[in-house]
């Protein structure tokens, strides 16, 4: 019967297709195995100077290595921090100089290849949770200091890295090699590419684009997960806002409403040093960045980063926000006819105040805050649901917490109060729906007792 013969023809075709795919796959795999064999050869290591080790410690802080490689309550750089990636859970590796579990057997060339090119000592390609596309631009000098620090300034810890929880076939490592070939920039071409007339801007660009790998969170990613621009030269998508771990990372470019357009260079510098400023407060992943990295930056480096970020053009043109006192006047006169207004007065106004301006360096402003005016409200919803704790800054050890409201406010309540906040005092954020709140409530992992400081023994 025609039906049978056509289906058997189809069957034969499929079989061939499968065979071809398998053969191609084997060849693709084989190619990655051939390449992996060539471990770089290096000269014998010599003991570095204390100064170089110290310098390396600072480079490690600028590179924020600890944010991923030191688990909460764990030994420094012993890894084991679970990182939620779209393909599953990746555990950060032990990068202490322990020979069995860490990188004690890495030569400088092995180390350099891992950090800047994303290739492990055994030839495997690293998951791009390790931001080697950004680190490709790290200078040789900093690489050498970093190596000296990790070999001689960090205590070895004999602690095995937990196996990643990724399902087959996504758990196959070798296809990553192609990802790397496609998306990770070449070291030589990028390292020297920062050429700016202003040395402060140049330093800022180096810190932001390369060492600080700000784009890892703040640049949008393609469906294949590479950052859509690895530097400003690739276009204004660079640092135009991204997402990580159920938080939205706001744009660091010059948009007037939800970028840094309205944030002064000084305020930005205060934010980086202290995790807070007159109007802003760090939360989410940025808390870790302040804790492990920016609070250690020298004043000159902070200034360089702030100036460089302020030099980035807006990705989209936005009118500047202007403060509208109507909201303040209404709340002052006891007008809480709107459900959102009533919820705001009952739950938020004590700290953020009826004028929406908060208290400087203490409780952030909501009026004109770029995060409040973000295109999507995810971070705001999450803040209200779970609360957040400010990181300890350089001279600001107090870690103010916003409480979690998930057990007090319904999805509808949160939608109402956030819609009120996003439209109040001249803010221009779109309304929030209960469905958006519900979705995020469901997506968040089971919470702890509430926001806690870094030093709270129950937090470890």
């Amino acid at each position: 019967m025609t039906r049978t013969s056509s289906s058997s023809r189809l069957g034969r075709g499929l079989l061939w297709l499968v065979v071809i795919v398998i053969v191609l796959g084997l060849l693709a795999w084989l190619a990655t195995q051939v390449i992996r064999g060539t471990r770089p050869v290096t000269a014998a290591a010599q003991a570095p100077s204390a100064e170089l080790i110290k310098q390396g410690e600072y480079v490690a802080q600028l590179g924020d290595c600890a944010a991923c490689h030191t688990a909460k309550g764990g030994k420094p750089f012993a890894g084991g921090l679970p990182i939620a990636a779209p393909i599953g859970t990746i555990y950060s590796s032990n990068i202490t100089p322990d020979a069995d579990h860490g990188i004690g057997n890495y030569s400088y060339a092995d180390f350099e290849r891992a950090v800047r090119q994303g290739v492990k000592r055994n030839g495997d390609t690293l998951y791009p949770a390790m931001p080697y596309p950004s680190y490709a631009g790290v200078s040789d000098q900093d690489m050498q200091a970093l190596y000296a620090y990790f070999m001689h300034g960090v205590a070895p810890v004999a602690q095995a890295t937990p196996a990643n929880a990724i399902r087959w076939p996504l758990s196959l490592r070798w296809p990553l090699t192609y990802w790397r070939w496609l998306y990770a920039p070449r070291v030589a071409s990028e390292a020297v590419a920062v050429q700016m007339h202003d040395p402060v801007l140049a330093r800022g660009a180096y810190l932001v684009d390369s060492l600080g790998h700000c784009g890892a969170c703040h640049t949008p990613r393609a469906p294949t997960l590479q950052e859509r621009a690895i530097s400003d030269r690739q276009g204004s998508l660079f640092l135009s806002g991204g997402a990580a771990d159920n938080w939205l990372a706001p744009s660091l470019r010059g948009e007037m409403q939800n970028g840094l357009g309205s944030v002064s260079e000084n305020e930005l510098a205060s934010f980086l040093k202290s995790g807070r400023s007159q109007n802003l407060a760090a939360f989410g992943g940025m808390s870790d960045v302040v804790t492990h990295s920016t609070r250690y930056m020298t004043d000159a480096d902070v200034e360089a980063v702030a100036r460089y970020l302020k030099s980035l053009s807006a990705h989209s043109e936005q009118a500047a926000l202007s403060y509208d006192s109507a909201t303040r006047n209404a709340l002052h006169s006891g007008n809480v006819a709107q459900v959102g207004a009533r919820l705001y007065v009952d739950n938020c106004a004590t700290c953020h105040r009826t004028d929406g301006r908060g208290y400087g360096q203490t409780f952030p402003a909501l009026a004109g805050n770029p995060v409040v005016n973000g295109a999507a409200p995810d971070s705001l919803i999450r803040l209200v649901l779970r609360g957040s704790t400010m990181p300890a800054g350089r001279d600001a050890p107090t870690q103010f917490s916003m409480p979690a409201f998930d057990s007090r406010l319904s999805d509808q309540d949160i939608a109402e109060v956030l819609s009120f906040v996003r439209a109040g005092w001249g803010n221009q954020g779109a309304a929030v729906t209960a469905a958006q709140v519900q979705a995020l409530r469901a997506a968040l992992p089971a919470g702890q007792a509430g926001p806690m400081t870094d030093y709270d023994p129950r937090n470890h």
Binding site: T350, C351, Y359, G360, Q361, T362, F363, G387, T389, A392, D395, A396, P397, T398, Q399, F400, S401, P403, A404, R408, A449, G450, P451, M452, T453, D454, Y455, D456, P457, R458
Partner: protein, 591 residues
């Protein structure tokens, strides 16, 4: 028995004095371990809004206090009575958990008057040796106000105290307390704005010829960064201070003022659920070798240390001294011995002041200390006691600390205690009622003391403390005099009605009635080892590496809230340890 690695300093109890000592001594580079019998707790999540504003859980059931079912003390009025356990919170609130009573105080932050520190010699000098009752056993502290002054100021700076100076470097300043001792620095923050009731009180007090001023308050009037870098939020007068933790980061506590800087120090370790049972001594009995505690798993643990800071709550310091057999226990019959000697308390009277409905008091606007007004004309020796025939005094306070429904709702005298009439009166009065309170000193007496109870034991099988205390005539007289002055002010306020609660001759000390909570004495400072347990540096006379800060060091009680003096004494002792003791460990005052 588990033996821990020896450390330089072990701190027993992690409230105000323990955290101050830990901070100051870690700055000296010493390795410090603090042992706290209670739980860890911090502003978030433990004091978060709105959960902390639960009057039943915290105000009535005392969630932040020492759990009395596990450990309490027994109380009796006289030597011939049998003491029975204090089973429900009333007269005093025992600190527990990280932050101790410093987490749930009101923030009423006073300094003592200069004469409070040498009260015995001052009274004898001004009024003669025969002025005091024979059984009154008040003593001098051993240090002068001028010696202590910088440290009282240091503690105010740490707490971000809000207030108005009245005597800056000897110059009188308008608007402050004209009776206060010289202060070398102004308060770090301006006063908290007065509540409406406080304004009514202050106007009336001025009309009566007195000198009202804003209550010094460790409820910050504005955001403030203290010398440790810790930052306070501004008080919003929510009315949940005493018995509660502060969700606004505005009430000074170890959590808000010290821990952010201390907890990150690598040479500091805090162990909670660690119940210290005794200080260990070497074979000479002159040197402490550390402490023994019971950990969360019920195991006995020894923590060796070169210096022991006994910084538990006042009562518990006395108990630890007695259980460790350090110093001679006080004997009320012979009047000899020092440990447990000179327990004292305070005596209050209170007036609820009821206005008509045209006066909007809105009592839910209140703070533990901010926003109230004080009259200090009749405290310490600010007035001539000669014709009055009593020692001591107190302040008069106007305003309210909150409008909580269970404990802070007053109905006019004559209202039934329940039913429809009570409800109507409660509804009619709530928004239009405030209070005027007197807060008076209690002197120390030969028969008022603390020892170990012969019968009752705690959950670990260790003897409970026994408190022997009742009022003396001196305090009834003091309270009557002070209350009459307060009533003059109340009259000037021209309310519709007022009520009065006062202790008078024939009234016994009643643990069921709340008053001030300020228990003092038992491990007192002084000038002489035969009459005191500590020298002026809070150093034990017998065991030189043992320091005992806290209200237990007060030789008698003052007319003020004690925390300002406790903090000042602790910083004074900490400096002596840092600058003198560490260089040459030994007694810092020769007996």
């Amino acid at each position: 028995m588990i033996r821990m690695k020896p450390v330089d300093v072990v701190v027993v109890g992690f409230g105000w004095t323990g955290s101050i000592m830990a901070k100051e001594l870690t700055e000296e580079g010493l390795n410090v371990v603090a042992l706290e019998r209670g739980q860890y707790q911090d502003t978030s999540p433990d004091f978060s809004y709105p959960n902390i504003a639960d009057e039943l859980a915290y105000g009535i059931r005392g969630k932040l206090f020492q759990p009395l079912a596990r450990e309490t003390l027994t109380v009796r009025h006289g030597l011939a009575d049998t003491a029975v356990p204090y089973r429900q919170y009333g007269a005093f609130l025992l600190g527990n958990n990280v932050g101790g009573a410093g987490a749930h105080w009101n923030g009423q932050h006073f300094r003592p008057s200069p004469e409070d520190l040498n009260l015995n010699s001052h009274i004898r000098q001004r009024y003669g040796d025969k002025f005091m009752p024979e059984d009154m056993t008040i003593q001098d502290y051993g240090m002068s106000y001028d010696e202590l002054e910088p440290f009282l100021g240091q503690f105010e700076d740490v707490c971000g105290t809000s207030g108005q100076a009245g005597n800056l470097n000897g110059q009188k300043v308008a608007g402050g307390n004209p009776f206060e001792g010289m202060r070398s620095r102004a308060y770090p923050n301006p006063p908290v704005a007065d509540t409406y009731a406080a304004k009514l009180f202050a106007n009336a007090a001025r009309a009566a010829g007195y000198h009202p001023f804003p209550q010094p308050s460790s409820n910050a009037s504005q955001p403030y960064t203290n010398p440790y870098g810790a930052r306070l939020g501004p008080c919003n007068l929510c009315g949940f201070c005493e018995r509660f933790g502060c969700f606004m980061y505005s009430k000074a506590s170890p959590q808000t003022t010290i821990m952010p800087a201390l907890m990150q120090r690598p040479n500091f370790t805090l162990r909670t659920n660690s119940y210290v049972t005794r200080v260990n001594l070497d074979s000479t009995g002159k040197r402490a070798t550390g402490v023994t505690y019971i950990d969360a798993q019920g195991r006995e643990v020894e923590q060796p240390a070169d210096i022991v800071i006994m910084s538990a709550f006042q009562m518990h310091n006395v108990r630890l001294m007695l259980m460790s057999k350090i110093g001679k226990p006080y004997d009320p019959v012979t009047g000899t011995g020092v440990i447990g000697k000179n327990f004292a308390y305070q005596m209050m009277s209170s007036m609820s002041v009821f206005f008509d409905k045209d006066v909007a008091i809105n009592p839910f606007i209140g703070a533990g200390s901010g926003g109230s007004q004080i009259v200090d004309d009749f405290n310490s020796d600010h007035f001539d006691h000669g014709p009055l025939g009593f020692v001591g005094g107190g302040y008069i306070i106007g305003g309210q600390t909150g409008g909580r429904p269970i404990q802070q709702l007053a109905v006019p005298p004559g209202t039934p205690a329940w039913g429809a009439d009570w409800k109507r009166a409660a509804r009619d009065s709530y928004l239009h009622t405030t209070s005027v309170v007197t807060h008076g000193s209690v002197m120390s007496y030969r028969d008022r003391y603390i020892d170990l109870d012969p019968t009752y034991k705690d959950a670990h099988g260790l003897p409970l403390l026994r408190l022997t205390f009742d009022w003396h005539d001196n305090e009834y007289k003091m309270s009557r005099f002070l209350t009459d002055r307060a009533l003059e002010i109340v009259k000037q306020m021209n309310p519709r009605q007022h009520s009065l609660l006062i202790r008078q001759q024939g009234d016994h000390f009643d643990v069921r009635q709340y008053q001030t909570t300020h228990t003092t004495g038992g491990v007192i400072t002084g000038t002489d080892p035969s009459s005191s347990a500590l020298n002026k540096y809070l150093q034990n006379w017998d065991v030189h590496n043992l320091f005992v800060p806290g209200a237990s060091a007060f030789p008698q009680n003052i007319g003020y809230n004690p925390t300002g003096l406790i903090g000042g004494l602790t910083y004074y002792a900490a400096k002596a340890i840092r600058e003198t003791y560490l260089k040459n460990p030994g007694p810092m005052v020769q007996a």
